[in-house]
């Protein structure tokens, strides 16, 4: 059970949160100018790295805010969390 530090509420246990997928996720548009490959990229393609990944998490049973989290997919070490739109510590952006 992960121990996650919500940027607003502080450290809480994993069941309070919901995972929201890998970042960055850029929604292409407008639709008439998006080719099939670009749309497929957005829908399906993810880096899925072995190592540190940037992700979105939601503090679903707390402040209900989305935030960014940097986690190792090997050890689950959480390097950093940040509010959306804020920059992450050096070297993790």
């Amino acid at each position: 059970m992960l121990h996650i530090s919500c940027p607003w509420c502080g450290p809480r246990d994993e069941p309070e949160f919901r995972w929201g997928g890998e970042l960055p996720l850029v929604r292409p548009g407008p639709p008439e100018r998006v080719c099939d490959e670009a749309w497929a990229e957005y829908l399906f393609m993810r880096d899925n790295p072995k190592g540190f990944v940037r992700e979105r998490w939601l503090h679903a049973l707390g402040c209900r805010q989305w935030f960014v989290l940097v986690r190792s997919t090997i050890t689950h070490e959480i390097r950093a969390t940040a509010k959306l739109g804020e920059s992450l510590p050096e070297g993790l952006a």
Partner: protein, 989 residues
């Protein structure tokens, strides 16, 4: 009391003033309070406690605690019958009834014993090669019945299980000398400490320790430490508590067994502990040696024999031989001698054992140095051990003379394996230490401190200083650095050990590596011969280490043997992954309080009590407890549902729609936002009006539907399905926070704040006009799909002309607390109109007649708007919305997509089965063209009606098809889904 040669008259930590009666395999025995089932059996001279898993060989006790591989028992206690318990851990209770497992009728005389002769047919992995024809299934039931470690209970568990969550600065796992010292240091330094030990009392190995600590007898020292810890205030001491697993970020799971399970309290408690620092003082487990016939009853670990003598005042035999590769077994020899056993000899594999040997000789015990075990003798019990001297000259081992020693108890000590499980689960690496012949914790997570025997330090003085230092270090790491004083001290003694894994290959007789899964040395040799190289493969192929003891007494020997067989080294072989739980954990404790009605708690509407009190049959609909139908004396379910439908179609009905999702969306950008969230255009929605809309995901798939109502320019009320409310609301928040943070929109989920009553039927308006309201309900002023806000009978109300029945329908939303009063008022005022409450079964049949789709029933995970007849709207909306781009994919334009249609059975009395597949030709049943999604009998139309998803259905109206289900075929026609009132006369009344 008649004298018992197996029980010492004095000593031990049993209470001779409290004798207990118990039963094992149907025979009555007696023991004392403080006994385990194992010690009591030994005290009664019971030597065979079970039969081995595969070959049904007679087996006796090997250990004295959780490492025990043979003494598996089933405790009989009616509904509490519990399998998979080790006799060595079961605390004896008066009236206890236990039986051995994997044998019939009992362990002493097992009908399956002849299987031993078939050992040659059942080597490792035999089930991959034999018993294959005609099918493994022919043999499987018999084979499974012949092997098994207990029977599962069949009655509901009568006990309660609790869960607790805790945080602490330092969690100390293990209450032996190292753990006690660590807990002491951390507590004195000022940290918040939890100390957990799996035994009934603290002390660990100190319970049979003769030396003094800080001048006190070991047990007195333990008691004084416990007193200090319990008085400290920020310390929690847990006994009978196993730390069985370490999970992410230092979350450890502990299983506490409460001592009096028969009383009204909980039987077990599961602790989730988030510890900033963890001290692993879990000790070490002694290893047996691998030699032919090493599984005979009477062969046990030296430390276990010592424990039985010192703690339980039991003589495990009359005449003992001790075979050892290290110093620790000498203490066992002295203890057994003091208990009155004759010690034939101590056989030490080392050429020069040093001071312990000299001390033994002074006590009159013969020591045969430089000898190793060759094979054990005996059939149902050990009778002797054959040993051989090793003369090593210039590195070559020469065989010396054989010698047979008589004994009825053989104590073996092949070394010690540190219990590093928790450290390893925390991803701590292990390294092999050849001097200590053990896998020791390497450099791992900084918050883990392995100490004592768990770090390879067997000597007591070492455990005390090492443990104290670990505790102090752990406390310091969290900022608690008050002076903890000195570490406890004791006399220094040696604790040397050496590696001895297995006797040299000579005899063809079986030498056991894993006792519980019946894995022999020959099985490992077979695996290597079949070219299985990796330790993980060899483990799974031979099943060594895979029994419920998880290889506590076998893994290390198997590793060493594998290294020898493959000509490599132990570090090269590596070890298999340690996985929780360390010791079996009951399913009950994992379920905790989430059983019965708390397993899946259902939400209740404001009218729940009224429904329950008026005959409603309440069921789970989308996580809510709702009326399926309302029962009445003397009427069948079908009668009642027909009556409810008739009331809605001909008079007036009331329906509890409170679970329907209600989301408030406000702000200057509310209209723009909703326009992006819906497939349908929402910007043009007029104030006071509503529009039915579909919501899609980015794949273009329909995920929800509902009416969007505009209360004011910047104020919308979104209604969702009752199962979709939380999901859609969460989706709104996600889009607003992550993708469009600049939109000025606020959303709030008000589903549970408002009660909802749908008043539907030709006489619905007539009924509402009998209520006091400032809302103009006349047809001209209040058209279909409009919303009006005002007051109804004095309370705030929002009334929308929407519904799911296809009749004139008003959905009244009022603050939840008023719902019951309004409901009762409507029933009272409408009695002469024939008003009836309607349940969900009736509602579903009415909406099926009307052809209203039910997302998730009439749509599946591939349905897009064009599939349900709403494709034409796409061209009329210029703006982007969620899922738009996916609707332009070629797959979204395939002509053979499943489309929403009506299905008319040729026989009007035949109700097409839901899930029945649509096939073109009655004979060719292997090509499904779709399926029936909703179906019922329609009294209003006097025939059956059905809806379905059919390939290219929109273009096949009028076509004859067949519906196949469960061996029957129904001819049918594809028609429009709008069966009832297709022009909407009732709807627009």
């Amino acid at each position: 009391m008649k004298s018992n040669e197996w029980r010492l008259a004095r000593g031990g930590r049993i209470d001779r003033t409290r004798p207990l009666a118990f039963e094992f395999d149907g025979k009555r025995y007696s023991g004392f309070a403080g006994d385990t089932l194992a010690s009591a059996l030994l005290a009664n001279g019971v030597r065979i406690v079970g039969r081995s898993f595969k070959l049904h060989r007679p087996r006796g006790l090997v250990g004295a605690w959780c490492e025990e591989p043979n003494g598996i028992v089933q405790l009989e206690d009616c509904a509490r019958t519990t399998p998979n318990l080790k006799a060595t851990q079961v605390e004896l209770r008066d009236g206890m009834r236990a039986r051995s497992v994997n044998c019939w009728p009992n362990a002493r005389r097992d009908a399956f014993a002849p299987l031993q002769l078939l050992g040659g047919l059942m080597p490792a992995g035999f089930y991959y090669k034999t018993f294959m024809w005609p099918s493994w299934r022919t043999f499987e039931p018999a084979i499974r019945r012949a092997a098994g470690l207990g029977t599962a209970p069949t009655r509901p568990d009568p006990d309660r299980y609790e869960e607790r969550h805790e945080h602490c600065d330092v969690l100390v796992v293990g209450g032996g000398p190292a753990g006690l010292a660590a807990a002491l240091a951390a507590t004195r330094a000022g940290a918040r400490v939890i100390l957990a030990d799996d035994r009934p009392a603290l002390g660990g190995a100190l319970q049979w320790e003769a030396r003094r600590i800080d001048g006190l007898a070991a047990l007195d020292w333990t008691a004084s430490v416990e007193r200090e810890l319990r008085a400290a205030g920020r310390v929690r001491v847990l006994t009978r508590t196993t730390a069985f697993g370490c999970y992410d970020h230092n979350l450890l799971a502990l299983s506490e067994k409460l001592s009096e399970p028969a009383s009204t309290g909980p039987r077990e408690r599961l602790w989730h502990v988030r510890a900033a620092q963890v001290v692993v003082a879990a000790g070490a487990i002694e290893r047996p040696m691998v030699f032919p016939d090493n599984d005979l009853p009477g062969i046990m670990l030296a430390s276990a024999a010592m424990t039985y003598a010192a703690q339980y005042a039991v003589r495990p035999g009359r005449r003992a031989v001790v075979v050892t590769s290290g110093d620790s077994a000498y203490e066992a020899a002295h203890t057994l001698q003091a208990a009155g056993l004759e010690i034939s000899a101590i056989v030490d594999t080392r050429a020069e054992p040093g001071e312990p040997a000299a001390s033994a000789r002074r006590a009159g015990i013969e020591v045969m140095a430089g000898h190793h075990p060759l094979r054990a003798h005996g059939s149902r019990a050990v009778k002797g051990i054959e040993v051989e001297s090793i003369r090593a000259e210039a590195g070559a081992v020469q065989e010396g003379s054989h010698l047979r020693l008589e004994c009825d108890l053989l104590c073996v000590s092949g070394g010690w394996t540190p219990s590093v499980h928790l450290f390893s689960q925390a991803r701590g690496p292990l390294r092999y230490d050849p001097e200590r012949a053990a896998l020791l914790p390497g450099s791992g997570p900084k918050s883990f401190h392995c100490t004592g025997a768990a770090a390879g330090n067997l000597a007591l003085h070492h455990c005390l200083t090492d443990g104290f230092a670990a505790g102090r270090e752990a406390a310091k790491a969290v900022g608690a650095s008050r002076d903890a004083g000195r570490a406890p001290t004791t006399t220094v003694e040696s604790a040397a050990t050496s590696a001895f894994w297995t006797a040299p290959r000579g005899s063809r007789r079986k030498a056991w590596v894993d006792l519980q899964n019946d894995v022999t040395r020959a099985d490992l040799e077979l695996a290597v011969r079949e070219n299985l190289q990796s330790v993980e493969h060899v483990k799974r192929y031979t099943t060594t280490g895979m029994a419920v003891d998880q290889g506590k007494t076998s893994n290390m020997n198997a590793l060493a043997l594998l290294a020898e067989l493959t000509g490599s080294s132990i570090p090269q072989v590596g070890n298999t992954t340690f996985r929780p739980p360390y010791d079996p954990v009951t399913l009950g404790s994992l379920a905790g309080r989430h059983v019965g009605s708390l397993y899946h708690p259902l939400r209740r509407t404001p009218l729940d009590s009224w429904h329950a009190g008026h005959g409603a049959v309440l069921e789970d609909f989308g996580g809510w407890r709702r009326p399926a139908w309302y029962a009445a004396q003397g009427k069948t379910r079908e009668d009642r549902i027909r009556a409810e439908k008739r009331a809605a179609r001909t008079a007036v009905s009331v329906f509890d729609g409170s679970p329907l999702g209600k989301i408030e969306v406000r702000g200057p950008d509310a209209a723009m936002f909703l326009n992006r969230m819906y497939y349908n255009g929402m910007k043009t929605l007029a104030v006071g009006r509503g529009r039915y809309g579909l919501m899609l995901n980015e794949h273009g798939i329909i995920i929800d539907d509902g009416v969007c109502l505009r209360i004011a320019e910047n104020h919308f009320l979104v209604s969702t399905t009752s199962g979709g409310a939380s999901r859609i609301f969460a989706g709104f928040e996600e889009w607003l926070q992550c993708e469009w943070p600049d939109l000025q929109v606020l959303v709030t989920n008000v589903t549970s704040a408002w009660g909802n009553i749908a008043v539907a039927g030709p006489r619905a308006r007539e009924l509402l006009l009998r209520l006091e309201t400032d809302i103009d309900l006349k047809a001209g002023a209040f058209p279909h799909l409009a919303i009006r806000c005002g007051r109804l009978e004095g309370v705030p109300a929002r009334i929308a002309r929407v519904g799911f029945t296809g009749e004139l329908s008003f959905e009244i939303n009022i603050p939840a607390g008023y719902t019951t009063a309004l409901w009762e008022l409507l029933l009272a005022r409408g009695a002469d109109l024939g008003v009836l409450p309607m349940g969900i079964e009736a509602l579903q049949e009415l909406r099926t007649e009307k052809g209203y789709l039910h997302v998730g029933t009439d749509t599946d995970g591939r349905s897009i708007p064009a599939d349900v007849g709403m494709g034409a709207l796409l061209a009329k909306k210029a703006d982007d919305f969620v899922g738009r781009r996916s609707l332009e994919r070629s797959d979204s334009k395939r002509p053979d997509r499943l489309q929403f249609v009506g299905l008319e059975a040729r026989d009007p009395a035949a109700v097409l089965p839901v899930g029945g597949h649509v096939i073109g030709d009655a004979a060719r049943r292997n090509a499904s063209q779709g399926y029936v999604t909703s179906s019922c009998m329609s009294e209003a139309l006097g025939r059956s009606v059905a809806l379905g998803l059919v390939q290219a259905g929109g273009n096949r109206t009028g076509e004859t098809v067949h519906v196949y289900s469960g061996g029957r075929t129904f001819p049918a026609r594809i028609v429009s889904p709008r069966w009832y009132d297709p022009e909407g006369h009732h709807l627009n009344a």
